[in-house]
Amino acid sequence: MEKHSIVESVLDNLPVAVFAKDATNDFRFVLWNKKQEEVTTIRAEKALGKNDYHLFSQESADYFRSVDKAVIKRGSLMNVPEEIIETKHGREVHLRTIKIPVHDAETGRTLVVGISEDITEHVKSREQLERLNRHLVAANQELQQTQLQLIQAEKLESIGRLAAGVAHEVKNPLALLLLGVDYLAQGIHPDDPNIGRILHQMREAVERADRIVRGLVDFSSQRALTREPTQLARLIDEVLLLVKHELTRSSTKVSVRIEKDLPLVYLDMSKFEQVLINLIINAVHAMEKSESKVLKIRAHSESLEDVVKNQGARKREVFRSGDRVVILEIFDTGHGIAPQDSGRLFDPFFTTKATGVGTGLGLSVARRIVELHGGELSLKNRENESGAVARLILPTKLETGRIRTRPPDPQSEESTPAARKERKEIDTTAEDLTP
């Protein structure tokens, strides 16, 4: 077999389209293999001796010519990741093409050799994938929106349940104010030693009522998830104020201990108040028949290596080894979790409470909120003691992408190391919560 026909045979059986244009003769085609015929639907005998302007549209030919000239100018290989040619049947073919300048010393010609791969099917699959992905993203956004609506609906539910207690808590400072006014209204004697004391108490009462009302307004506000650097101790203080009535009425003792210099956590205050209120109200309900009613809130930080051994695989997906996390635990002395309920606690609409007392959404919503924060919520019975413990693991870093975030404000009081140091370990009881 002659050398010439061997090369031709190889070229015609290649799975890629190969062509060559003579740059020294108006870029006319001098090579056009079988696959090139197939891709362009133009036979070799029609193409050879012609240039792009004879075979393709003006626009396409202009483009091909500009690339060819660039290849010659550069004197090296050029990669065209994607180009489109339109066949005479109107079909669009997507090609990935490599163009190489070749100088033929024998004839003195400069050729542009092209090798094209038909990637039409790839492109179609990719476009379909992109379309699917767009649908998926839209569906996911819709789901997130629905979840936020569900969270808000559940929150309104708990505001309804808290309202009577909050009203009671506001009436107490109002009662004090009225007594102060009554006293002062009877005439003010400059020598009266009570006056200073009364004014001090009245001021405190106004501040307390304001704090309670503001807490409720903040809690009820509806907005997208906005995470800010938060001192967990401050959050717990605010929550205890909102549930104070429930704690007092049930004679629940509260003990809060928070590690000194606990790292800041990135939380949406309002949504996280919802989580803690849910967990505390659940604990209070669980302790209704207990002789000793103690709510213990503990928070400390750990490096993740310390916890990873005892946790499931899911956690290792959420957190990375070496991550610093904050662990918040809420212990109660209630009846604990019945074995048959343990698998269903976080199921929507699952409740052990009487009809009308709970919606059964509290825990499922609480877990969803915690997960939106990149954290974890679990609930189990206490070891060696009766009662249950809710355990929250919260990242101290802000992962990007998923949620709208606000970077820490260096000017803000909470983010200064001094402010963090100020928060020492505190241990308090329900009575101590009265400002």
């Binding site: 107490n172 004090l176 007594l179 629940t252």
Partner: protein, 126 residues
């Protein structure tokens, strides 16, 4: 002779100001008990002529305290005014006060002239 009044309420500021208001009339000697679990012991030692009792308190609520007082024949005779923020303030007519027994429930925030009136009525009757 001033009458002895015992205030049983966990709200420290409220009891302090109520004490000042009552003592200012010159008619009362007032003692405060902010811990309801100690209420019975304080009643026994102070032996007040009337008790002003809060309803919602940690430990023992006003109902529990009242029940303990009622179970003791000596203490059951002491008139009790219960205060609570749980009920809405409604106008209590003179007639209602006159008709009430040795116990009355008044809403918080408390109307001071009304409270003084109620105390006088109960004390005269006792």
């Amino acid at each position: 002779m001033s009458r002895k009044i015992l205030l049983i309420d966990d709200e420290v500021g409220f009891t302090e100001l109520l004490k000042m208001n009552l003592e200012r009339t010159g008619a009362y000697e007032v003692r405060i008990e902010n811990d309801s679990t100690k209420a019975l012991a304080t009643v026994r030692s102070f032996m007040p002529d009337a008790i002003i009792l809060d309803v919602v308190m940690p430990g023992m609520d006003g109902g529990d305290v009242q029940a303990q007082l009622q179970s003791n024949p000596l203490l059951a005779r002491i008139p009790v005014v219960m205060l609570t923020a749980l009920v809405d303030s409604t106008e209590l007519s003179e007639g209602a006060v006159a008709q009430a027994g040795s116990q009355l429930v008044l809403p918080k925030p408390v109307n001071l002239p009304l409270l003084l009136n109620v105390l006088e009525t109960l004390l005269v009757r006792a």
